[in-house]
């Protein structure tokens, strides 16, 4: 049972492509099941690694091409984005909304008391 759980642990690491410590490597060499599985998965890993490594290549001058395609002033956007990020915060939006509401109510009251009420008292509003 102990051997089986050791095999399971080692085989899991083999499948995940993790490096094995020396004791585990010795076990793989001694254990037929683990040895077969290791050979199998290593062959698969090497096939896929070759494909990924050889699939596409970085062309000469690629970094130059990228740099030529960049906008001239990247950092200029930084202060603007800070303001944007500040305005995007919920508490800032709530404060601005409250201030806006207070100003609107004050304007309404000012209109009522400075225009409507005096006009009504003079008989201008029916």
């Amino acid at each position: 049972m102990a051997v089986s759980s050791l095999c399971n642990a080692i085989q899991e690491r083999i499948v995940m492509g993790e490096l094995l410590d020396e004791a585990s490597q010795a076990h793989v060499l001694a254990c037929t099941g683990c040895g077969r599985l290791a050979a199998d998965w290593l062959a698969l890993d090497s096939l896929v690694a070759v494909e990924i490594d050889g699939g596409v290549a970085v062309p000469d001058g690629f970094a130059d091409r990228v740099m030529a395609s960049l906008p001239p002033e990247p950092a200029a956007a930084l202060p603007v984005s800070r303001v944007e990020s500040l305005l995007g915060r919920r508490w800032v939006q709530l404060v601005l909304a409250q201030v806006g509401l207070a100003v609107a109510i004050a304007n309404l009251l000012r209109f009522v008391f400075s225009t409507l009420v005096p006009a009504a008292s003079l008989g201008g509003v029916s």
Binding site: V15, M16, G17, D40, W41, L44, D45, L47, V48, A49, V50, E51, I52, D53, G54, G55, V56, A57, V58, P59, F62, A63, R65, V66, M67, S69, L70, P71, E73, P74, A75, A77, L78, S81, S85
Partner: protein, 189 residues
């Protein structure tokens, strides 16, 4: 020089710092895009677009949320998935033709020796990778890059480390089954 320093330098207007980031990540990025089965020309286009988007949005990058490499690969992954979706729309019923169209082997024009030695085998591996479900292929390719930790892959894939391990295992199982089947069909791998 670590990524954080180079990013700060770039944001303060030193473009050469970004060049160093490009040079540092261009190779793993191309390997990643190649693993997606994208051809040379499309991989170049997407890699360039990845760096361009990273540059444009660098001020919004939050180092506390993800490593720069994870952020960069997330951009590349999204671009690659969009490109694949577009190419599938262009050729909805022609899987074989799609495989041919996206073949890096075709684009990279291998030498005769290369073609004889490895061309057929690579094509089979490539097709086996193409047949993997998108979610498994992306995780598997990231794992094969050997450049990223499990945590970083989990961050790119927006899943747990456990899910990453599970996807790698399932992906390799499917890949192996596909290659064994291919071997049976062709007599060798």
């Amino acid at each position: 020089m670590d990524d954080g320093f180079l990013i700060r330098q770039t944001l303060s207007g030193k473009r050469n710092a970004f060049r160093m980031l490009v040079v540092r990540y261009q190779r793993p990025l191309f390997r990643f895009l190649g693993g997606f089965g994208l051809g040379q020309a499309i991989a170049e286009e997407l890699a360039q677009e990845t760096f361009l988007r990273a540059y444009r949005n660098l001020s919004g990058y939050d180092a506390d949320k993800a490593k720069f490499s994870s952020w960069l690969f997330t951009i590349a992954k999204n671009l690659a998935l969009n490109e694949r979706a577009r190419s599938h729309q262009r050729l909805p019923h022609a899987e074989a033709a799609d495989d041919e169209a996206e073949s890096p082997v075709r684009d990279s024009v291998p030498s005769v020796h290369e073609a004889l030695e490895t061309g057929e085998r690579r094509l089979r591996v490539q097709r086996a990778l193409q047949r993997l479900p998108e979610i498994l292929r992306s995780t598997l390719v990231l794992a094969y890059l050997k450049e990223l930790s499990m945590d970083e892959i989990a961050s790119i894939e927006s899943c747990s480390v456990g899910a990453v391990k599970s996807r790698i295992f399932r992906g390799k199982q499917l890949l192996r089954a596909e290659l064994v089947e291919s071997e049976d069909r062709h007599g060798r791998v």
